[in-house]
């Protein structure tokens, strides 16, 4: 066979890409909740101007013998703390905007506020203040009871503050990009809660920066909460039975190809107003990125059609600050005997760098009872980060601190979750109680705590502080649980990214030993061996990955690379073709297919694929370079 002149270069998958290193990430992403500050501010200002008694009602004055009226005492509390959700189009089942609205629920309001079921606010008061607190004061609660007991009097109309403004349309104005779920979900009238994921493909051609994303989850009355997860590799598309149809599941896992830890908590719960990220903290969105909306839906008694949409607000300012989500967890310890009332699970993590804590998101399922997290500072002082004495999955939320909390290097963050698997826990999904383990289904249990942190005071020369955090976390997880597949996997990916290929290979091997049937781990081990110039060893793992997951793009692509490095261009071309069946618009796979064909002398066909690569990405330098080289060769012959 005639050998061609200069060897054509084979494209890799973009700058800085190490072949298909897949960081498995199971990070849940959610944005912190924001209550309508604008609305409250407007009301507050008007109240101050006209001397409306917004402050008087909530003051510590004595109630004995005093008449409590709606207009003077109750309306200010209701308008501030209830009406955000209790208005048409919002999440609550009835409005609380007028005297007659509120009177029709007077006794119920007295009871649910006394029980602190409403307004929904789970955390206890604490020194580190949380933003947008909805907790009522004891005095406010007493006022509701007293008002009901006195016969729900309307009072003097001159005392009535202005009714809150009804929220309409997108809260931050018309978004720059509106995406609506392709297919609506039909929620059956009854049955257990539904967890459904809608995938939104971003129709952007280049990297953009989002300063806010508004989630409109469909009919808000039936959506308990919703989270956006950023799927940078489109790894969840294969979960859909039909494209655009979405898929079920409470907890989902995302694979990503580069070290790109989750950074933002994009969360919606009833009453949420979209949060505008602070200057410099925009969210990066690339071409090909999917946003996955993970929703928790509750049947209403009739069939409901749920079709969420999201609105994205872009900014021209790329991120200059890179927060990340740290996850503490101890699911491996969740082995809760049936009937056990106080099952304790803990985890502790010592911070390897200084960080500012911006937000916190505790997560457990139906057995969670007392949920606590605290920081122990290097000087031994302790501070509560969050304490929820009566956890309720239905009202889970992201909590943001009023001020960033500095946690210096050496601070230990601890979680302490107590689970109640007895009959006394009304939310217990098993009746009678059954043995429950950790897991992703809603009937399994979870012990997670997400911290949104911003590394500060770090030395750039020592590398990305997020990677230092992530490595410390992976090593911490391995100390806790040497058989933690994900920790080995993620540690390997980090070592690989840092160029420590031998160490990375060892960690991938351990991960694979734990889960021999994991397609991603087989692919990753193959990829690191390929990067270490051992294509012969790589081939077996890549082929195994494809046996386990047919049509796996990364494995086809990497196997094509490995075969090509062994000069087996015919089989390599076959692999690139199959990769392109999985992802038809991948410029790298097109370019590599062109290269393999060119190596075999199939110039005309090669030319078609280089051109196709350049159609997909006009700036694809390798395709451009190879096409020029090819045209030169074609002219020679």
């Amino acid at each position: 066979m005639l050998h061609l002149g200069p060897r054509l270069k084979r494209g890799t998958r973009g700058p800085g890409w190490s072949p298909a290193s897949c960081l498995l990430s199971s990070w849940l992403r959610a944005s912190w909740p924001q209550w309508p500050l604008a609305l409250l501010t407007i009301f507050g200002a008007v109240a101050a101007l006209f001397g409306w008694p917004a402050a008087r009602a909530a003051s510590d004055q004595k109630l004995e013998g005093r008449e409590v009226t709606f207009n003077r005492d109750i309306a200010p509390i209701v308008f501030r703390s209830c009406a955000t959700c209790h208005q048409p189009g919002e999440a609550a089942p009835f409005s609380l905007l007028t005297y007659s609205d509120v009177k029709k629920h007077a006794r119920q309001i007295a009871e649910v506020t006394e029980a602190r079921t409403m307004p929904p606010w789970l955390p206890e008061p604490q020194k580190l203040k949380l933003a947008d607190e909805l907790r009522l004061s004891e005095m406010q609660i007493k006022l509701f009871r007293e008002w009901f007991d006195q016969g729900a009097i309307e009072g003097d109309s001159r005392d009535l503050p202005p009714a809150p403004k009804i929220a309409e349309g997108w809260r931050l104005g018309t978004p720059d990009l509106i995406l609506t779920a392709e297919k609506a979900l039909t929620l059956p009238p009854q049955g257990s809660d539904t967890y459904w994921n809608f995938i939104f493909h971003l129709p952007i051609q280049q990297t953009r920066w989002a300063k806010a994303i508004e989630i409109r989850p469909g009919d808000k009355r039936y959506v308990h909460h919703a989270n956006i997860l950023v799927d940078r590799a489109g790894s969840l598309r294969s979960r859909e039975a039909a494209p655009g149809g979405g898929f079920g599941g409470m907890e989902i896992q995302i694979e990503s190809q580069t070290f790109d830890p989750d950074s933002h908590l994009l969360f919606w719960k009833p009453g949420t107003v979209p949060y505008v990220e602070p200057e410099g903290m925009a969210l990066r969105l690339d071409k090909g990125t999917d946003l996955v909306l993970n929703t928790h839906l509750q049947p209403s008694g009739k069939t409901e059609v749920i079709q969420p949409s999201i609105g994205i607000y872009f900014t021209d300012h790329p991120a200059t600050k890179l927060p990340m989500l740290l996850q503490l967890e101890n699911d491996a310890k969740l082995d809760i005997p049936a009937g056990q009332k106080d099952f304790l699970v803990t985890d502790e993590f010592k911070l390897p760098v200084d960080v500012e804590l911006l937000a916190i998101y505790p997560h457990a399922h139906y057995l969670g009872k007392d949920i606590q997290a605290y920081a122990t500072f290097p000087d031994g002082k302790k501070e509560t980060l969050i304490h929820i004495p009566q956890w309720n999955l239905n009202w889970q939320a992201v909590y943001r601190y009023q001020q960033p909390v500095l946690l210096p290097k050496g601070t230990t963050v601890s979680l302490r979750y107590v689970y109640d698997n007895s009959e006394e826990n009304p939310l217990n999904p098993n009746r009678p109680p059954a043995h429950v383990m950790g897991g992703n289904r809603s009937s399994d249990e979870m012990c997670h705590l997400w911290l949104q942190v911003l590394p500060v005071h770090y030395d750039v020369a020592r590398g990305d502080p997020r990677m230092v955090l992530q490595e410390a976390l992976a090593r911490h997880n391995l100390e806790k649980n040497p058989a933690d597949f994900e920790a080995h996997y993620n540690l390997a990916a980090m070592l690989q990214a840092r160029g420590q290929l031998a160490d990375a290979t060892g960690e991938y091997e351990t991960a694979l030993h734990l889960r021999p049937e994991d397609a991603a781990a087989n692919n990753a081990l193959g990829a690191v061996l390929l990067a270490a110039a051992k294509p012969g060893e790589a081939v077996q793992y890549l082929a195994r990955a494809l046996q386990i997951r047919p049509g796996y793009f990364d494995a086809h692509y990497n196997l094509g690379q490995a075969l090509a490095s062994q000069d087996n261009f015919e089989d390599a071309a076959q692999q690139f073709r199959q990769a392109l069946q999985a992802q038809p618009d991948d410029a790298n796979a097109e370019a590599n297919l062109g290269s393999a064909l060119a190596e075999m002398g199939q110039f005309t066909e090669a030319k078609t694929h280089f051109e196709r690569a350049l159609q997909i990405d006009p700036h694809h330098s390798l395709a451009k370079q190879n096409l020029e080289e090819l045209l030169r060769l074609m002219n020679q012959h």
């Binding site: 089942p93 009835f94 007659s100 009177k103 029709k104 629920h105 007077a106 006794r107 119920q108 009871e111 649910v112 029980a115 079921t117 409403m118 929904p120 009238p189 009854q190 257990s192 009355r221 049947p299 209403s300 008694g301 009739k302 139906y366 309720n392 239905n394 009304p426 939310l427 217990n428 999904p429 009746r431």
Partner: protein, 194 residues
């Protein structure tokens, strides 16, 4: 066991006990239960010799609404032997709004408005959703919750494990009494509508 005719007599027994007189009297009709077109209806007279089940609901009560499938399943199962009526005690409701609600939730049961709480008092109910079961002689044998699905507002079990309404209907069919003849429900207070 409580006798409905006793509760009736302390209330406004004349209207329905003496139907002819009641229907003739506009003033009295204004104080009774009416159908969605505003006509006075006596569910007892209409269910003569049958077990009678009154189900008290509010449109603005989410717990009420979430029970729609359960209510329809129970009424389908016992519809041969018992007569089921939905009762709306909110005087601010109109026949039209209730009609729309029934259509939304796929109800095929007759519905009444009870603006003066005549049936509420008779049935001893306090909350929506609660039910009252009257035996064939129309004696009240059970009033209260449908089942134990809800623990408190906003908090429900994954599924109910006790089934008070079905149990009471079966007891009525068997001519037996109900052991716990009154178990309060979870939902919205009817008295808030006074």
């Amino acid at each position: 066991m409580r006798d409905r005719s006793f509760a009736w007599s302390t209330g406004r027994c004349l209207r329905w006990a003496l139907t002819a007189v009641c229907l003739a009297s506009v003033a009295l009709a204004q104080h009774g239960a009416v159908d969605l077109d505003g006509n006075t209806v006596d569910p007892f007279a209409a269910s003569s010799g049958k077990i009678l089940v009154l189900i008290f609901l509010r449109r603005d009560c989410p717990v009420s609404s979430r029970y729609a499938p359960t209510i329809q399943q129970i009424s389908a199962r016992y519809g041969h032997d018992a007569s089921f009526w939905l009762v709306y005690p909110d005087k601010a409701e109109t026949g039209r709004t209730i009609h729309q609600y029934l259509s939304d939730y796929g109800y095929r049961l007759p519905a009444l408005r009870d603006p003066d709480h005549t049936l509420v008092k008779l049935a001893h109910v306090q909350i929506t959703p609660e039910v009252a079961v009257f035996d064939r002689k129309h004696q009240l044998i059970y009033d209260g919750r449908i089942d134990d699905w809800y623990v408190k507002p906003g908090q429900s079990h994954p599924a109910a494990t006790t089934h008070e309404l079905s149990d009471a209907i079966r007891a009525a069919l068997a001519g037996q009494s109900v052991e716990n003849s009154e178990v309060r429900g979870v939902g919205c207070y009817i008295s808030d509508l006074d």
